[in-house]
Structure formats: structure tokens, C-alpha cells
């Protein structure tokens, strides 16, 4: 079977591969992400208890606080950022976080948005995903083990 490929628009460049963490619920990183550990600490969010570090984080868009930019930057300083982020629409606040992380710590966080189909409907938790923000492509490389067995 060929890998599923979704075209999208690049916000912040770079290429990254990892296991997916997926939600359809908008996410405010400031009150939901503990930047020092990478854990989602907001009990009102369905990703509560998950760790975003090194994951391909898929959520529709960010809401709420301006502080999310600094949250991403601090997560970057602590090496706890997602390895890439996929949104339906990326807010400038998140983009600022990525720009700062690159400027201050030389760390790139590929971010893409405006996918041609909603990746949350195709990609499930733990699926192996490759994000090529340079080319504007999301690639589903492998399904998570629990689905493979079905």
C-alpha cells in the first residue's frame, strides 16, 4: 500500500518524523502545556496526561492566551517541544514561538496548516507520520500497532 499523502501549507520550515498525537479539540498551549515536562496538564482537554515532546502534534487551532508563544519557546529551551505541529489553521502566536525557538536556540519546529483534508480524520494516535514543511506535505508512513492487528 502506498503511503497516504496530504498536501498542506508551510508555516515554519523543516522536516520531521514521529508518532502522532491527535485531537479535534482546540488547544491553548499556555494553560494546557507544562513546558518543562511536555505534559498536557489541563484537565478540561482530551489530551490531558499525554506528553507532546517528540510527537507529531495534530490539533485544529490554538485558542486563548498570547502567552502560548513563550510557552513554546520555553518548551524548546527544555527540549520538550513536539517534533512537528499540524493545524487546520495556525495562529500567529504559535508561529512566533517557532520563530523565537529558531532564533534563540537554533531549533526548528516544522509547522504546517491548511491541509487539503483534515488529518485528524485519517491519522490516529501513535501512527507514524512524516511532516515535510519545506515541501508542504504530511505523510502517513505507518499505522499504530493496535490498528495493524485488526
Amino acid at each position: 500500500m502506498r503511503n497516504i499523502v496530504i498536501r498542506c501549507v508551510s508555516v515554519s520550515k523543516g522536516v520531521s518524523e514521529g508518532k502522532a498525537l491527535v485531537t479535534n479539540q482546540p488547544l491553548c498551549l499556555y494553560d494546557s502545556l507544562d513546558p518543562k515536562s511536555g505534559y498536557i496538564v489541563n484537565r478540561r482537554h482530551e489530551l490531558y496526561g499525554e506528553n507532546v515532546a517528540g510527537r507529531i502534534l495534530i490539533f485544529p487551532y490554538g485558542i486563548g492566551s498570547s502567552t502560548s508563544a513563550a510557552t513554546i519557546l520555553e518548551a524548546s529551551r527544555c527540549n520538550k517541544t513536539p517534533s512537528a505541529i499540524i493545524n487546520l489553521k495556525t495562529e500567529p502566536i504559535l508561529a512566533v514561538g517557532a520563530i523565537l525557538a529558531e532564533k534563540l536556540y537554533g531549533k526548528t519546529i516544522p509547522i504546517v496548516h491548511r491541509p487539503e483534508t483534515n488529518p485528524a480524520e485519517i491519522i490516529k494516535k501513535h501512527d507514524l507520520v512524516r511532516v515535510d514543511a519545506d515541501a508542504g506535505l504530511i505523510e502517513l508512513i505507518g499505522h499504530s500497532p493496535d490498528l495493524r492487528g485488526r
Partner: protein
């Protein structure tokens, strides 16, 4: 993106290292969002003024800008700090946090920041006019600037606000452009008894509107022209956490939205919603995890209390005592506290056992309690990582719960 000679010069380091860093960050952001040029802005409200929010990474950047000699080119007000500068020890704020906050305050003030330390700068300290291009952070303040005053601002991310103050410009995209200020979803409030609404009710309404509108610009009809500024503050704060709302057109209140047609800039709204009482009741239940009101901590002032709110609370509570097992904390700006103090309101509140805290946010005060009561929808929604249960009630109900009696 088109850059002027001055923009280019900053980008090339001709104005020093600070403007070079700041401009490179903002130009990159502008390129990402298709801005055609850098827009001159008239003032900035800096959200990233608390060490607790911008952390070591943010402190590093601000100190780097300041020590390189960068100075703000436009007036810049500050959002709350991590400490009440007068009584952080009394509030059990750790001294390592206070030390870093003092470093951050020094660096910001060296660059020329106006030390307002408030999330409601539109009430005390900031300058806003209809049609003015400004660059603000802090979601409630962004909502207020766009919705109530009709100034124009995007929602700035932390540290992008500091960079903007350094160069006096922000990329021209989003809510600076007419087409993005067009109302898209219409809410009709005819069925609501808005004349009986208090600030907390307007918070519930704002949260509902935000959660339905999400990324779209809402238009709301039927808002009374004599709505109080504090009620608008509550509405704007809640709509920003319920969705991503940075601009609401309140017909007859918002200067650029005298009518629905004007709010929608000639086109038709994509969707029309009649707000029912029961929808707001459902929203209220979602925000309040407990109906029983036996809170250990009661917090008011998210966003910061105005002088009027402090005076109102003082009048309600005068001569009463806060229950021994309850902690009442009231958050406000230094400016409002000073004025209210001159009116005797601070002493009146504190003689009941309550505490009026300035310069900072409830986020930074160790509260060590399971159950919270607040009149703030924003706090009710965002504080659940700290509390097990939250009760939402009006300022009067919060005061009653504090003293354990109907007032």
C-alpha cells in the same frame, strides 16, 4: 514583503543588535502570514511582562534586547508581573521567582516600558482611539481594544510584543485589514433579559459566543448602549477563552458596527443564531463544576478590578467578616488600588479579612486549595489545572460566600 529603507537598515543591524533581532523576527512572521509591508503602530501592550509566563527563555531575550541598548520607539504598557512588588513575601511567592521578576522589570523599564502591570490597561494607563493601529498582547485586552474602542490590533504573541515596541512596527495582516474585520456570524439576543445581566452573566454570554463563533468574527445585536465598561471587560475576556475571538461587533456599542450591515461590511452573515436562555444555562453549568458554594478561596479581579468594582465590593462588605476558613483575594492594578485606597475602599475590604493584591495575577499566587469561587468566567475556565472544583457567581454572590451570609 515590501520593506522601507529604515526597515532594511534595522534588519541589517544599522540600528544595533536589538532592532536587528526584533525586526528579523517580525519580518519572518510577516512573510509567513502574507503581510505586504510593516505597519507603523502607535502603542504596544506587552503581555510577556511576567517571568512566570515568559520563563527563563523569555527573560534571556528581553535582557539581551535591553543590554544591547535597544529602546522602545513607541509607548508600551505592561501586563501583570509575577509578583505584587509591595507584598510578594506575604503572598508566599518564592524568592527565586521574585528575583527573576525584578530582573525582568528592570530590563523592561530600561527600554522605556510604562509599568502599569495590569491586564486591563484600557481602564488605567493605556491610550486608545478609534481607528488607531496598535499592537497588543493579552487576549482580553486585545478583545477590548478591537471591540469596545475600535482600535485595530492583532493578537500578539508574547515577546513579539516586546520586539514590536523595539521597532515600532508590526506586519500588516489579520485584523489590521478591513476585510478581516467583517462580521461573519450573527447572534441575536432578543430572547435574553440583558437589562438584568451582571458582569458574570456577560462573561457567560461571551464564552457562549466565543465557543460557537470560534475563529469567525461574531456580530451581536441587542446589547444595551448603557452596558457598563466592566461588563464589556468580562464579555471580551470570556469570548477570547471560549473561542479565539479578538473582535466582536456589538451593534450600537462597537464604533465600526452601528448596524448589522455595517458590521458585516455589506455582505450577509454566514450564519444566524438566536441565543436562548437554556443555552446560556448549559454554558454556566459547564463553567461551574460545583453548585454548592463552600469555597476555600474566592478570587475577584480576572481581568483586574476597576476602581468601581473595588468600591462596590467595599460597600457590600463593609462591617462584615470573611469566614475563618475562607481566603478572599482581590486582584487589581496599582493605579486602581491607589485611587480606591484614597476613597477608603481598600481599608474597607481589608478590614473584613480580604486582601487586595496589585501588579500581579492569581496565576502566580500559591493558593493551595481545592475549591475556588470566582466571578470570572476566564478564571473559572482556565484555573482547573490548579483547583478540583470551581464555582462561578456574581461579585455579590462571591462576597456572600466570603462572609457566609446573604448580604
Amino acid at each position: 514583503m515590501f520593506l522601507t529603507r529604515e526597515d532594511e537598515a534595522m534588519l541589517n543591524g544599522e540600528y544595533g543588535q536589538g532592532p536587528e533581532i526584533a525586526m528579523s523576527i517580525l519580518v519572518k512572521l510577516g512573510d509567513m502570514y502574507g503581510a505586504d509591508r510593516m505597519l507603523k503602530i502607535e502603542n504596544v501592550h506587552i503581555d510577556g511582562a511576567a517571568y512566570g509566563w515568559i520563563n527563563d527563555a523569555g527573560l534571556e531575550l528581553v535582557e539581551k534586547l535591553s543590554s544591547s541598548g535597544a529602546r522602545f520607539r513607541v509607548p508600551a504598557t505592561l501586563n501583570p508581573s509575577s509578583i505584587d512588588f509591595d507584598m510578594w513575601k506575604e503572598l508566599d511567592i518564592p524568592s527565586h521567582v521574585a528575583k527573576k521578576q525584578l530582573r525582568l522589570a528592570k530590563a523592561l523599564k530600561e527600554m522605556g516600558a510604562i509599568p502599569t502591570w495590569t491586564c486591563a490597561p484600557y481602564q488605567y494607563g493605556a491610550d486608545l482611539r478609534f481607528g488607531q493601529n496598535v499592537a497588543w498582547g493579552e487576549s482580553n485586552a486585545v478583545g477590548f481594544a478591537n471591540t469596545v474602542v475600535g482600535a485595530r490590533t492583532e493578537r500578539l504573541g508574547d515577546l513579539a510584543d516586546v520586539c514590536t515596541a523595539v521597532v515600532g512596527k508590526y506586519p500588516n495582516f489579520g485584523l489590521y485589514l478591513d476585510e478581516n474585520r467583517r462580521g461573519q456570524i450573527l447572534f441575536e439576543s432578543d430572547k435574553l433579559k440583558l437589562d438584568t445581566f451582571d458582569s458574570a452573566d456577560y462573561g457567560v454570554l461571551g464564552f457562549f459566543v466565543g465557543s460557537v463563533a470560534q475563529e469567525r468574527v461574531p456580530v451581536i445585536t441587542g446589547i444595551p448602549r448603557n452596558i457598563a465598561t466592566d461588563q464589556l471587560k468580562s464579555f471580551c475576556a470570556a469570548s477570547a477563552v471560549g473561542g479565539s475571538v479578538a473582535l466582536s461587533h456589538l451593534c450600537g456599542v462597537t464604533p465600526e458596527a452601528k448596524t448589522v450591515a455595517e458590521a458585516c461590511r455589506g455582505s450577509k452573515p454566514e450564519e444566524r443564531i438566536t441565543i436562548e436562555d437554556n443555552e446560556l444555562e448549559k454554558t454556566r453549568q459547564k463553567l461551574s463544576t460545583v453548585s454548592e458554594e463552600h469555597p476555600e478561596v474566592i478570587c475577584l479581579g480576572c481581568p483586574h478590578c476597576s476602581v468601581q468594582e473595588l468600591v462596590k465590593l467595599a460597600c457590600i462588605m463593609r462591617g462584615k467578616k470573611v469566614k475563618r476558613d475562607v481566603r478572599l483575594l482581590v486582584f487589581t492594578s496599582r493605579a486602581a488600588k491607589t485611587l480606591a485606597d484614597d476613597m477608603g475602599a481598600i481599608e474597607a475590604i481589608e478590614s473584613t479579612g480580604g486582601k487586595v493584591v496589585a501588579d500581579t495575577c492569581w496565576n502566580f499566587v500559591p493558593l493551595d486549595a481545592k475549591t475556588l469561587m470566582t466571578d470570572s468566567v476566564k478564571m473559572a475556565w482556565t484555573s482547573l489545572s490548579k483547583f478540583t472544583n470551581v464555582a462561578l457567581g456574581s461579585l455579590e454572590r462571591c462576597a456572600e460566600a466570603a462572609v457566609g451570609a446573604r448580604l
